[in-house]
């Protein structure tokens, strides 16, 4: 501290730099502050606000949500749409990705499939209203084929929302799955083949274990998207009935009854449910191999 004869203690700057904290590191600050202010802070605010209901004790909002079937039933409704949609998307993506991986010219297909993701759910919903409507091309085709004799109702119900989640969700799931599957060294499968493993055995012993962890993450990301479904639930679903999902309840609380506190509680409940599902899936993932899917050095 004092004596000039003592070996000089490195300055603060030097000590920080040794731990990796220097001017360059500070470049991360503006972005981190922005996310803290725009994401973490509102989230905490929302959490606090959810315990400050318009009337009643701190837990009144949560009590209200879980006491009112009109509100809590949105949870099973949402899960009833999101889980089948996510599982269907994954079940369809895996075989397609396993085929497409062998193609040299994947670009055209991936480009076509990225279009619905880019256009977003609102446009897909509007397209579905036209296409699946009573006078739409699909009903016409089915009638022309004499499969039905009167238009079937395909939108403004549960199935409308499910279709829209598959149309927008399958490409998303597929592209993620493809990126995982492409990471698996094709030589591993060849090696398994020379050792006597047939196609099914190769899938079971090599591909599936190496894909499992990627599929878990794909499931989480796809599920989170489907769980928060809003525009299609309103536009092609039955927003007052079979597709009254939890986002609709949250939106109504915020913008129709202007109960910010209740709306925040619902948002927190949504976050909690997503968190639970994600944690469950990722915990399952730890049962599988998670390292790189390459076959060796080089």
């Amino acid at each position: 501290m004092t004596g000039a004869a003592l070996p000089r203690r490195p300055g603060l700057r030097e000590r920080l730099a040794r731990r990796g904290l220097d001017g360059t590191t500070l470049l991360v600050l503006p972005a981190a502050l922005a996310i803290l202010a725009l994401f973490v802070f509102p989230f905490i605010e929302g959490l606090v606000l959810s315990f400050l209901p318009k009337q009643g004790g701190p837990l009144a909002n949560y009590a209200k949500f879980f006491g009112d079937p009109y509100l809590w039933k949105t949870i099973p409704t949402t899960l009833g749409i999101a889980i089948p949609a996510t599982l269907a998307n994954i079940a369809l993506s895996v075989p397609v990705a396993l085929r497409v991986r062998r193609m040299k010219r994947q670009r055209l297909l991936t480009t076509i499939l990225v279009i619905p993701i880019t256009l977003g759910t609102v446009l897909v919903a509007e397209g579905l209203l036209n296409y699946l409507g009573p006078q739409g091309w699909l009903n016409r085709t089915l009638m022309a084929l004499h499969l039905i004799d009167r238009p079937v109702r395909l939108v403004h119900n549960y199935w409308g929302v499910l279709w829209s989640l598959v149309i927008a969700g399958f490409p998303f799931t597929f592209l993620l799955t493809l990126s995982y599957v492409s990471g698996i060294d094709p030589n591993l499968e060849r090696a398994a083949a020379t050792l006597g493993a047939g196609p099914r055995a190769r899938f079971r012993t090599v591909l599936l274990p190496l894909m499992a962890s990627g599929l878990a993450i794909t499931f989480c990301l796809s599920f989170v998207q489907a769980f928060a479904v809003y525009p299609s639930a309103v536009l092609v679903g039955a927003p007052a009935g079979s597709t009254r999902v939890i986002s609709i309840a949250a939106f109504q609380a915020a913008y129709e009854t202007y109960d910010d506190s209740l709306a925040s509680s619902i948002a927190m409940i949504m976050a909690a449910i997503q968190l639970v599902i994600v944690v469950l899936v990722l915990a399952g993932r730890s049962l599988f191999y998670r390292g790189p899917a390459g076959g060796g050095k080089g």
């Binding site: 731990r19 503006p30 929302g46 509007e126 036209n130 296409y131 592209l175 993620l176 915020a254």
Partner: protein, 280 residues
């Protein structure tokens, strides 16, 4: 693998997979096609195709929905979001790629979370805070809200690009006397241009289509195209369906033009996210 001899079962399986893909693409085309056809139909009821065609719904939609204003707002919002997320995100990505500091894991998690939480969940508390600050319903509110997913996205996409740049190039520049700012402008930005361009184009495409956050934070004067489209579709019956579809087409073209540009620089899989970054 078994090229030498494909069994019948294998063939049926392969056929089934491709049939599904074909069926999916056919439906996709029909969905987009139905919107396109309706937008140029005079009247389309009870037939395969309309009886006559017209362009006038486009003019109608333009004036009815005040698309001029909406497009201006859309591009102001998108431009600001792209600029801000680039300015904040690229330096942060640089620091995260080059330095190992205590708490780096936590910072990475901080940038990952906004991508994992769906916009509807964060949008409601964020809108509450923005309204309390007087930013709700303004264009600034919309821009700030859109930064929540865009900024982390830029960071996570740019990190692998920076990882690829040999650190010795930078050390050489330092040896020849470049300070941090010059290092950025003379060495890194030129080397990183493809990566930054890719990240920003992706943010651009995603921001045009970002519905939930804009929907929750925008007001009458700060609607973007996708939100205006939502209102038009949900108020169907008030206006002619063709005019709504004309607007949908304008939205579609606006988005797809940028998508086509973006796809010149990036791989389609990157639009859904950079997995290497999100993996662990």
């Amino acid at each position: 693998m078994t090229q030498s001899r494909t069994s019948i079962l294998d063939r049926i399986w392969i056929l089934a997979v491709w049939t599904f893909v074909g069926f999916f693409i056919l439906n996709l085309a029909a969905i987009v096609g139905a919107v396109a056809v309706n937008s140029v139909a005079t009247r389309w009821l009870g037939t395969w195709l309309p009886k006559a065609y017209t362009w006038h719904w486009y003019a109608d939609a333009w004036s009815e929905f005040q698309l001029g204003n909406i497009l201006t707002v859309t591009f102001e919002v998108v431009g600001a979001v792209v600029l801000l997320s680039g300015l904040l995100g690229v330096p942060a990505a640089y620091a995260l790629s080059r330095r190992d500091f205590p708490g780096k894991k936590a910072v990475m998690l901080l940038f990952l979370l906004p991508l994992l939480v769906p916009p509807m969940t964060i949008g409601i508390p964020l809108a509450t805070v923005l309204y309390r600050l007087g930013l709700g319903g303004t264009i600034w509110g919309v821009i700030l809200a859109n930064l929540v997913p865009s900024l982390p996205f830029v960071i996570l996409i740019t990190i692998p690009f920076i990882d690829q740049i040999d650190q010795r190039v930078e050390q050489a520049a330092r040896v020849f006397g470049a300070n941090t700012l010059r290092l950025f402008t003379h060495v890194l930005v030129p080397l990183l241009t493809p990566g930054i361009l890719a990240a920003l184009l992706l943010v651009l495409v995603r921001t045009i289509a970002m519905f939930e956050l804009t929907f929750l934070t925008s007001g009458p004067t700060s609607q973007t195209l996708v939100v205006a489209l939502y209102y038009a579709v949900s108020a169907a019956g008030v206006r002619a369906g063709q005019s709504v579809d004309a607007m949908a087409m304008i939205y579609m073209v606006t988005t797809l033009v940028w998508l086509v540009i973006a796809l010149r620089f990036v791989n389609p899989t990157q639009i859904v996210g950079r997995q290497a970054a999100a993996r662990d």
